[in-house]
Symmetry: C2
Subunit: 176 residues, 2 copies
C-alpha cells in the first residue's frame, strides 16, 4: 500500500512539474526577452536617404535616416509591413553652429553635423521570426567605436516604437 | 585722291572694328557670364549622403547634402579638386516640429523634414571648361515642381562660394 501511495505521489508530482514547465514555456513565448542586434550592418553608410531630423532636449543632435534597398523600396511603394531583411539606420551627429557658414551668411543661422554622440548609430533590423518578441524588429545602438549600447537602453526601444504599431513600428516617414 | 582717302578711312575703320571686337572677346573670356544648370541631374535622390545641416534665419530648413559616386569618392579620398562629372546635391525641407515624436518623448524636442521650400533642390555640377567662369562649378536651383530658380538668385552662388576656394568652393564637409 505504501508503495502504491509513493507511486501515485511520484506520478502526480511529475505531472505537476511537466504541467508547470509547459505553462512557463507558453508564458515565455508570449513575453520573450527581446533580442538585440550586436553587429553594425555592413555598408550602411552607402545606403540611400529616408529623411533627416533634429532633436533638441537632452539630445541636441542632427540626424540622417538611411535604409537598405529593401527598406527604401518598401518606403517608396508605401506597402507595409517592411519585409524580412529590411534595415533602417539612423546616424546622429552633434548639432553644432558653423562659424564658417555664419560668416558668409552674415548672421548666426547655420548648424551642421559635429562630433558623434554616444548614440551615434541606431538600427532596426526586420526579421519577423527572430525578433517576434519586439514586433519583428531587432534594435541596435552603437557608439563611434562600434561598441553596442547598454541593454538597459535598448529595452526602451520597443515600448516607444509601439506607439506607431500601425506604421510597422517605424517613426520616420520618407521625404522625397 | 578722294578714292585713296576713302579706302584708307575704310581700312582704318575696319581695323578699328576688328580691334574692338578682339578686345571685347578677351574681356568676355575674363569675366564671362556664369552659365547655370537648367536640368535636374537624373537619379539624384538615390545618391549617397555627404552630411546634413539646419538653417535658421530666413530659411528655417533642414537639409541633406548628397553626392553622386564621383563626388562621394572624392570626399572619402580627401583629394581635391573634385573631377569633372562630380555633382553635389542639396535637398532642403521646412524644419517643422513633430507632434507625434514629441508625444512619445514627452516634451517638445523633435523636428522633422516638412514641406519643400522654393529653394528645395540645389546642385553644383563640376565641369572645369563649361563652368570656367564660376570656378569650374555650374550652379542650379529648382523648386518642387522642377522649375529653375531665378538667375538673379543663381548669380549669388559663386560670390559666396568663393569664400571657400581652398576647398574647391564646396562648403559641406563629409561626415562619416
Amino acid at each position: 500500500m505504501r508503495r502504491i501511495i509513493f507511486l501515485l505521489v511520484a506520478v502526480a508530482t511529475l505531472a505537476g512539474v511537466v504541467g508547470f514547465t509547459a505553462t512557463a514555456s507558453r508564458h515565455a513565448a508570449d513575453e520573450a526577452a527581446p533580442i538585440f542586434v550586436k553587429e553594425i550592418p555592413a555598408g550602411y553608410r552607402d545606403w540611400r536617404l529616408v529623411s533627416v531630423a533634429h532633436e533638441e532636449g537632452n539630445l541636441k543632435d542632427i540626424r540622417a535616416i538611411l535604409g537598405n534597398d529593401s527598406a527604401i523600396d518598401t518606403y517608396r511603394e508605401g506597402k507595409l509591413p517592411f519585409p524580412d531583411g529590411a534595415i533602417i539606420g539612423r546616424i546622429a551627429w552633434s548639432h553644432v553652429p558653423s562659424e564658417e557658414n555664419n560668416k558668409v551668411f552674415g548672421r548666426e543661422q547655420s548648424f551642421v553635423a559635429g562630433a558623434e554622440p554616444p548614440w551615434y548609430l541606431q538600427f532596426m533590423v526586420k526579421d519577423s521570426k527572430k525578433y517576434a518578441a519586439t514586433g519583428g524588429w531587432g534594435y541596435a545602438q552603437f557608439d563611434k567605436d562600434g561598441k553596442p549600447g547598454p541593454e538597459s537602453d535598448l529595452k526602451k526601444c520597443f515600448p516607444c516604437h509601439q506607439a506607431i504599431k500601425d506604421r510597422d513600428f517605424v517613426f520616420t516617414r520618407y521625404t522625397p
